[in-house]
Symmetry: C2
């Protein structure tokens, strides 16, 4: 079976851990049996692997997430990269074309589309296997997963099944309702639309060709930015008459806000945290090196990262977005294909960052027009190439990189270095790539 | 008139802004009329100067505070340095000897001892002038300031005056009572002991010689570590029968805890802070460069510094001390005679700090046995001396300092630099001073 995980865009609702360059699915907050912390994407990937070791997993995502995915899942995972964001129908069409044209998946094979961020247990992926089998049988063109509602939520779309059987034909779909209407739907036996769709690859390729003019994956990729933004629900699901829905009553949580995310945490604290005994229902996620001390708080979430510090009443945390939008904050931490960086000091005419290069990786060979840089290697071994000349480097070495000089570093072991950038107009855009 | 301000020890009750090396009196949180922020010591010094431009002010304090005092008040302020901590009687005796032997103050002159940290208005210092005049008249050996109590506090000692006059003889002293006893004292007309004492210098010199065997200031200084720790109240005040007390009913606040400190803040926030409209009675002091966002909090204080982050219910904040004692945190920021430093990265075998040297200042000429250092100057101009050789330095210059090399930097303008320390056992104690 082919599983396509839709790894959605960056979001600010879990600021300061998520922002324009870090997405919530990469935050490591779930404690595993061996005491380590894993992210949503790591958890979901591990669960799929444990339920179906043979499943072929593809992650459909944007360019900006590729580094984080490889860093967290390893480089053997399939990634279908969207050149830009175009909502779920173009993303699923591109993934279908990629499976067919790049991965040579037969049009007869079943594909299950699944969001990357539900907080679920393994029974969810067992249900997804069952969903694939139902799609395989060919009784319907599309098979959905319907989540048994636990409360009248205004956040979800509703699926109304024809009957109460485990697998039923779909009678109709309802958009996100108000509270009262949601209760009415639930009384009628409605299910939440969990965003999981199973179909045979041919079905989706046909739909894609019907709605978009393209020959193959490569053409679709090249014209991706011209596609209309439209959701899969709107473009396909709501227009399809031959749909089945399978009920799922296991654990299913949508961890989109601090309120719901903290409910899913095994332990109240991650990181260097101290709570006094008068704290009640307090969760703290501290990514900084210095301690967070909480005293006498109730129903509060505290989150500290290189980007900033949030202290919020849990219920209030769901209204965070406009406040975060109003913050004009330089990106302070980012994962890159070669490792990560963290800004540790900012002055008018300098910026100091800590760079971590993963073993075996290297930066692009590049130069800067408006700044010079000083690297001090603090750990690890590797090689620099500066204006074509390769030199070994180790902890304690200093490399001065004048304006315009072409440079890169190759990490033989993991390398950490302190980079001081000096100049009048320091900008991430001042970077010219060169070939070696 | 001679005013001696007792600048007490470091404390952890205002962590993370105060700790073993930063005292609460140096935290800049009081907004002045020109929009800048001043510390307790700056506020008190400014108030004294505005009430009595001719007052001779001496700060009695420990070695560790000298840099911070010079940085905040300028180098013209008198400082009487205690070589170690020995409670208030030895401190006041040392200050008296310093005034007599170093500053050549006549034994007939009046001295007023005053804590450095009450949060008061100028009428308090007008009352102190009046206190000095009463001491000048010689009716009593000691004149105290009695604060009109505003509530039955368990935190203060009480002075019971003989009558209700503005200036009265003292009947008796009472130690910190319980709540019920405090109310009883107040009903009897008791006043809080505000820690302010006025006397003629000769009186105190005589007392000091009576209790300590010493010839002059220099001998007292050299044997200071052998003196018994004893408070001025216990050694002198409670044994003296000829005492007057003057009532003071103006504003007087003891800003010893986050709860009382935030009450005295003009504005709810200092630094990069965003509160949503659902916050109520929330104070935030953020010394970091990144934003603090608070949502839906009530009666909470948030404080973020390079040392850590506190989030506390205001009332609970008074129980902070044992929690802070349990935190084993490296000092991340400190003021020095030459400027300040901040730790910006810590790894197993390296530490990176940002150093700010004030214009005209220089570090000690020193070397390290177990680490080498790399300095990258990020702003300013000055000179380095490395193994005896002086060189000009400016922004962008890199100075490598191998193990054992003797080095210093002299700031012609303010200089900022990033210092990467590299070695197996990095410690502040690995520092050998040399003469140039």
């Amino acid at each position: 079976m082919n599983i396509v995980l839709l790894s959605g865009g960056s979001g600010k609702r879990l600021w300061p851990l998520s922002n324009d360059v870090r997405s919530k699915q990469f935050i490591k907050i779930f404690k595993t049996v061996d005491g380590e912390y894993e992210s949503m994407v790591q958890r979901v990937y591990r669960q799929i692997r444990s339920v179906d070791t043979k499943a072929s997993v593809t992650i459909a995502t944007s360019k900006t997430q590729v580094s984080a995915i490889y860093n967290q899942l390893g480089t053997s995972v399939g990634i279908c990269v969207e050149p830009c964001r175009r909502d779920t129908f173009p993303a699923i069409a591109l993934a279908a074309a990629w499976l067919h044209d790049v991965k040579k998946v037969s049009p007869k094979e079943v594909v299950v589309i699944c969001p990357v961020d539900p907080f679920v247990e393994e029974d969810y992926f067992e249900a997804i296997e069952r969903l694939g089998e139902i799609a395989e049988s060919g009784e319907a063109n599309l098979v959905l997963m319907g989540i048994e509602p636990t409360y009248p939520s205004e956040k979800y779309g509703y699926v109304i099944p024809k009957d109460g059987a485990l697998v039923s034909r779909v009678s109709t779909f309802k958009e996100k309702p108000d509270l009262k209407t949601a209760q009415k739907y639930i009384d009628q036996g409605a299910l939440w639309n969990g965003g999981v769709f199973a179909f045979k690859l041919k079905y989706l390729l046909d739909k894609a060709h019907e709605l978009i003019d393209f020959a193959d994956y490569w053409e679709l990729y090249s014209k991706y930015d011209t596609l209309t933004k439209i959701s899969f629900d709107y473009a396909v699901v709501e227009k399809e008459s031959n749909i089945q829905v399978m009920r799922f009553s296991g654990q299913w949580k949508d961890l989109g806000t601090w309120n719901t995310l903290t409910e899913a945490m095994e332990e109240p604290n991650v990181g260097n945290v101290l709570l006094n005994e008068k704290c009640e229902n307090v969760h703290v996620i501290n990514e900084l090196d210095v301690p967070v001390l909480c005293m006498g708080l109730k129903d509060v979430v505290v989150s500290a990262s290189p980007e900033g510090i949030l202290v919020s009443d849990k219920e209030q945390s769901s209204y965070i977005k406009p406040y975060v939008d109003s913050i004009d904050q330089q990106i302070m931490f980012a994962e890159k294909s070669w490792g990560s960086f963290r800004v540790i000091d900012i002055e008018d005419e300098s910026m100091t960052i800590k760079v971590t290069l993963n073993a075996g990786r290297s930066m692009n060979y590049h130069s800067h027009e408006r700044r010079h840089e000083v690297w001090t290697v603090i750990s690890g071994k590797g090689r620099t190439i500066v204006d074509g000349i390769e030199q070994p480097v180790k902890a304690g070495d200093v490399i001065e990189l004048p304006v315009g000089c072409r440079h890169t570093i190759l990490a033989d072991t993991e390398i950490k270095l302190i980079e001081v950038q000096l100049g009048h107009e320091i900008s991430v855009h001042d970077k010219q790539k060169h070939s070696l």
